[in-house]
């Protein structure tokens, strides 16, 4: 039993002066469902290209099932759906799926693949007459045309509306339940949160977080505390707030005269709240909420941007924009 599906060891890849992937170390284990997160330009697609042998790394090594990526593909162990994977025109969906099943060394039945991808009713349609979401499902069918051990999906639900996305997730889960390792890149954080049992966060070509969705949320500071302080209740020093236990970030605004709004992110909400009262403050409208994966993601990438002194979180803004798209 191989305990390693895929491995990146010290992998680097540059395009001219841009470092798309910078010192990536990563091992995927059998049976995992792994989400690869990152803002646009974080190196997700390049990493997947390297994993599939479509590009060669400048430094380090990439292996699939202990060997070269191309060998794993020729052995029929990997199925992939690329963001930039076009389809043949002038053919019917069934013909294209049959081609994929035929050329796969461990090809499945055409009917089975059509059913699993949920495109049985599209089988007789011409590929060039499909909508964006339908095309995505045909691409998915090509990725599951054989008995693969690993399935790689690059932003699989782009262009799907909400209902279709839900049923697509079910198809993805079915693949994972069949014991396959699934790696998918996405910028829909909800998708990572609800499907993946491991989340990788890529930022500027580096792996900056690797763990369960819960661990990543905890790392970002698990809870948010918000309240108001009224001058009528007595004055206070902001430094008092800063020294509260567990606080990882603090934001104080004073939009209304005599009232200040305080927002705290904390790793230990209980201790922070106890500290607020111990300091003699009178918080009004106190709220304690958990942060979602999206917030955690923005926090982690934002921290790095500040450390680097560079970009002022523009990358993170991209992700927020993408997330809004997913809600629409």
């Amino acid at each position: 039993m191989v305990t390693e599906v895929a491995a990146f060891r010290g992998v680097g890849k540059s395009y001219g002066r841009v470092r798309a992937v910078d010192g990536l170390d990563l091992v995927l284990r059998p049976g995992e469902t792994v989400a690869l997160l990152g803002p646009n330009g974080a190196g997700k697609s390049t990493s997947l290209d390297l994993l599939l042998g479509l590009r060669e790394p400048d430094r380090g090594s990439v292996t699939l099932f202990g060997g070269a990526p191309r060998a794993a593909i020729e052995a029929g162990r990997v199925g992939a759906m690329l963001q930039s994977g076009g389809l043949m025109s002038d053919v019917k969906v069934r013909e294209l799926v049959r081609l994929a099943c035929d050329v796969h060394p461990r090809g499945r039945s055409v009917t089975g693949v059509l059913t699993d991808a949920g495109i049985t009713e599209l089988a007789e349609r011409r590929v060039d007459k499909l909508s964006g979401g339908q095309e995505q499902r045909v691409r998915f069918a090509l990725a599951i045309a054989g008995d693969n051990d690993l399935i790689v999906l690059d932003e699989p639900t782009t262009g799907m509306d909400v209902g279709v996305r839900q049923s697509f997730w079910a198809s993805m889960r079915a693949q994972a339940d069949a014991g396959r390792t699934v790696l998918f890149a996405t910028h829909y954080l909800e998708e990572a949160d609800s499907i993946a049992d491991r989340v990788l966060v890529l930022h500027r070509g580096r792996l900056i977080a690797d763990g369960t969705s819960a661990e990543i949320k905890a790392r970002a500071g698990a809870r948010r505390i918000a309240f108001e302080l009224h001058d009528a209740d007595g004055g206070f020093e902001e430094s008092v707030l800063r020294t509260l236990p567990g606080v990882s970030s603090l934001d104080v605004t004073a939009r209304v005269p005599g009232t200040r709004t305080v927002r705290i992110r904390t790793a230990d909400a209980d201790a922070t709240v106890a500290g607020i009262y111990r300091a003699g403050l009178y918080p009004r409208g106190l709220e304690v909420t958990g942060v979602g994966l999206e917030q955690a993601f923005l926090t982690i990438t934002g921290e790095l941007d500040r450390e680097d002194g560079g970009g002022t979180g523009t990358d993170s803004a991209d992700v927020a924009g993408a997330e809004k798209e997913s809600v629409r």
Binding site: G85, D90, V91, E95
Partner: protein
């Protein structure tokens, strides 16, 4: 790989634009030329009807392979279908082999339809001559298939269309497709693959055998175009 080739052929035959431009168009041009020249005159030492039957067959065949390979390869590189195929167990050359095989099959109707029209208009050749001519023109089309593959890997879709049209029309114009070339034009034409391609038909004339110079010239072009196609293919693969 046979599934891929079968599907490539099927989709080419399904494409209406292909049928119109590579089969119907040369046949219509043939009628136009034989009427314009009149049936009694000679062209390039041949009866007009025979001369233009050959030149329109080569016109259709070159058009079929250039558009069938160059434009499609260029489009499918852009759409990502080429990348998708690289994620299958198919060997890297399968895609190109499939394209050439598909265009080779589809040049046959382009040649045969013009031949049928020629025969109906009174072109008379012996059985072996018909067969030999069809075989020579069919085999000659592989030279242009290699050129098509090279062009398909050389340029993006929006650029490849004009490049193909200009190359095709210039070669046809100076290669005797629309009028026989003579004099100084003919000296240059020796370096034009379409001219050499048209020359393959001269063995049907009394007292002529197969033009070995033309065959050698075409073989040289095949080597050059294949080498260019292979180099451009490798460049494309490195860029993923």
């Amino acid at each position: 790989m046979t599934t891929l080739i079968r599907l490539e052929i099927l989709r080419t035959l399904r494409n209406r634009r292909y049928l119109l431009f590579t089969i119907a168009y040369p046949a219509l041009m043939y009628f136009f030329f034989i009427n314009a020249y009149g049936s009694t005159s000679l062209a390039g030492g041949l009866p007009v009807k025979t001369y233009f039957m050959v030149s329109m067959a080569t016109f259709g065949a070159v058009g079929a392979v250039l558009t069938g390979s160059a434009q499609r390869i260029s489009l499918e590189r852009k759409s990502g279908w080429v990348r998708q195929l690289r994620l299958t167990a198919l060997p890297g050359r399968a895609y190109t082999v499939g394209k050439i095989a598909a265009t080779a099959v589809t040049t046959l109707p382009a040649i045969l339809v013009v031949f049928a029209v020629g025969a109906s208009q009174g072109v008379s050749l012996s059985g072996p001559q018909w067969l030999g001519l069809a075989a020579a023109l069919w085999l000659g089309s592989f030279v242009f298939a290699a050129l098509g593959v090279a062009l398909g890997y050389a340029a993006a879709p929006d650029a490849v269309q004009p490049i193909v049209m200009i190359t095709y029309m210039a070669m046809a114009l100076l290669g005797g497709t629309w009028f026989p070339v003579s004099g100084s034009l003919e000296r240059f034409a020796r370096f034009n693959p379409v001219y050499l391609y048209n020359e393959l038909a001269t063995f049907t004339q009394p007292g002529h055998s197969l033009d070995t110079v033309a065959v050698a010239g075409l073989a040289a072009f095949l080597v050059v175009f294949t080498a260019a196609a292979a180099a451009l293919y490798r460049r494309d693969t490195r860029q993923a």
